[in-house]
């Protein structure tokens, strides 16, 4: 970059955020990368010598299975979020002056900690929770349904938690679409359904991609949702990493699993950028 006044001014204003990012993201990431190539210490921590064994261990069917299951759960959560979010985003984008109210409602859950909202779900889903007690007292069931501590509960928690991340980019792309295109589609003989599938959805692909990434990436790395709603049966990558740093005291292996997760996320982002370019 040449040192023009405009560039110097840009550098001046970007320095604070660049410093913060470097200190809180760049440095820790470098440490984690370094740890992932070291050997485990007896009480946690790391020691010499350098090794790549942490990465080869991830190919063990046990761990590979955890990666695959995490990807599968994240994929289901992404699909669930898209299916629920698209009609909602479409509704908001076409509701005129009330758009802002509805958008505020979509992000209202963020006013409460995600952790507290997950505990609320536990109170709803557990054996003595609201749903089971209500059903039993109504005589619909005699024994509590196993609603909590399974993969279904994890999926529910993920879809619930990340739905707004799908709604917002979909809304942004739908709101930008020129309504005259729907007039044109109808004029050319397309029923409202056909117009949805031949005009609205194809034109929403950038938003659908953005929503997919925004939901998929945090879902594949989730650890709090699977920890609280999945119980000990459902181990995802996030829980694997956490275990290595806590009970298993194998920091290098936890670091290696984290790095693989990050690389997978970056690969997803690059993939998205490429498909975006193809779309536009």
């Amino acid at each position: 970059m040449t040192s023009t006044p405009a560039n110097r001014l840009r550098a001046f204003f970007l320095t604070p955020v660049a410093t913060v990012m470097l200190a809180t993201l760049g440095v820790p990431l470098a440490i984690v990368t370094a740890y992932s190539f070291l050997s485990r210490g007896p009480y946690g921590g790391v020691e010499m010598p350098w090794t790549e064994e942490n990465y080869t261990r991830l190919f063990d069917p046990l761990y590979a299975g955890i990666f695959l299951r995490s990807a599968w759960v994240a994929l289901l959560a992404t699909a669930g979020c898209l299916v629920l979010a698209f009609p909602l985003a479409l509704f908001i984008a076409r509701s005129g002056a009330r758009k802002n109210l509805y958008l505020a409602l979509v992000i209202l859950p963020f006013w409460t900690s995600f952790l507290i909202r997950l505990y609320a779900w536990m109170f709803l889903l557990r054996d003595t929770g609201l749903i089971n007690t209500a059903f039993i007292s109504l005589g619909l069931i005699h024994a509590p349904l196993p609603l909590l501590y399974n993969e279904g509960a994890v999926l529910l928690g993920l879809i619930y938690g990340y739905l707004p991340f799908a709604v917002l980019p979909l809304y942004a792309t739908l709101e930008r679409q020129d309504p005259v295109l729907l007039d044109a589609a109808a004029d050319l003989g397309a029923t409202p359904w056909r117009a949805l599938f031949r005009v609205t959805i194809p034109l929403s692909m950038p938003g659908i991609l953005a929503a997919s990434i925004l939901v998929f990436v945090p879902c594949i790395g989730t650890y709090i949702v699977s920890d609280l709603l999945g119980g000990s049966k459902t181990v995802l990558i996030g829980n694997l990493v956490q275990n290595q740093f806590t009970s298993s005291r194998d920091w290098p292996f936890g670091a290696a699993a984290s790095i693989v997760l990050i690389v997978a996320a970056i690969a997803m982002l690059l993939l998205m950028r490429r498909s975006r370019e193809e779309l536009l």
């Binding site: 007039d183 044109a184 050319l188 003989g189 397309a190 029923t191 005009v199 034109l203 779309l279």
Partner: protein
């Protein structure tokens, strides 16, 4: 007269305001018909009522004698060329033109042939795989026309399709539109606020004002025999001298006195290429505009002149 499209007392109210107020029109089959009026006169709303994007508050719309005002737009055999063209940005030229054919019941392949023929007709061959963003304004407009014409509509609705083009191109496209209408034989219903466009293109036209049709007829009739002052002033220019209308080109100007002439002072002249406009003021203070060939215009501001015109050129009893 074989009318392809008939409107009977069509009214459209928006929140108490009548955008279209009892419009009755009969559009002859195979003609170029224009709806002309200033912005806000209801001409575009009328078009949208015919296309089905708005539903009429009252009145009837008939296509080939059948009522269509209760049908959704996708069931009406009329097609629209939008002011902004409204091409689908994610589809190629071919995709845009084939869009309507794929909505139809016919799943057979004459579709491909139809698309090719209409693309040829509109000189878009070779551009099939371009996206709208890669087209010039004139090409976009031709795609919009092709997309509508490929469906062989009973009436093609054109909503100010020339207004997005630059003036040079507009002249050329105007002639092309006229040719296209003649060649295809499709009835064109053209909405515009440009009187020159309407006069030069139309077989007949309707002048609209405040939601109503002021007058309907062939261009020459509307220009020569306007029934209202509004139509007289909206089509071309008009001088009002003592309650009578006289067109600027009907007035003769001379330096010497004439039996019927009236004295006036030249305020200024404007050179317009083939013609010149001379602004004058009569002795009673009335401003009169005169249009003459620019080759005959030696007049200077402040000069005294005499104006005269034939009584036959006076427009009387306009409401």
């Amino acid at each position: 007269m074989d009318a392809v499209l008939q409107l009977a007392n069509v009214t459209k109210e928006f929140a108490g305001h009548k955008a279209v107020d009892g419009v009755t029109l009969s559009i002859p089959r195979g003609t170029f018909f224009s709806l002309l009026g200033p912005s806000g006169c209801g001409k575009t709303t009328t078009l949208r009522l015919i296309a089905g994007f708005e539903s009429a508050t009252a009145g009837e719309i008939r296509l080939n004698g059948e009522r269509i005002d209760d049908l959704p737009p996708y069931r009406r055999n009329v097609n629209t060329v939008f002011q902004s063209y409204a091409l689908f940005p994610h589809l190629t030229v071919h995709g845009n033109v084939a869009f309507g054919l794929r909505n139809g019941a016919s799943k057979a392949n004459p579709a491909a042939d139809k698309v090719r023929r209409v693309l040829e007709q509109l000189e878009l061959s070779g551009k099939e795989s371009r996206k709208p963003a890669q087209l010039s304004g004139g090409e976009k407009q031709r795609v919009a026309l092709a997309r509508a014409l490929v469906l062989s509509p009973e009436v093609l609705l054109l909503d100010e399709p020339l207004s997005a083009l630059d003036p040079q191109l507009r002249q050329q496209v105007r002639a092309e539109l006229r040719d296209l209408q003649k060649k295809t034989g499709v009835t064109f219903l053209f909405v515009t606020h440009d009187q020159e466009e309407a006069l030069s293109l139309s077989d007949s036209l309707a002048v609209m004002r405040a939601g109503r049709v002021e007058q309907m007829g062939p261009p020459q009739e509307l220009y020569r025999k306007p029934r209202t002052k509004f139509v007289a002033a909206f089509l071309g220019e008009m001088n009002w001298i003592g309650g009578v209308g006289v067109r600027p080109e009907a007035i003769r100007i001379a330096r010497v006195a004439d039996a019927t002439g009236r004295k006036a002072t030249v305020d200024g002249t404007a050179f317009l290429g083939p013609t010149a406009h001379i602004s004058t003021t009569l002795e009673d203070g009335t401003k009169v505009k005169v249009q003459i060939p620019s080759s005959d215009c030696p007049y200077q501001a402040g000069e005294s002149v005499h104006l005269c015109w034939n009584a036959a050129d006076e427009l009387r009893d306009l409401t």
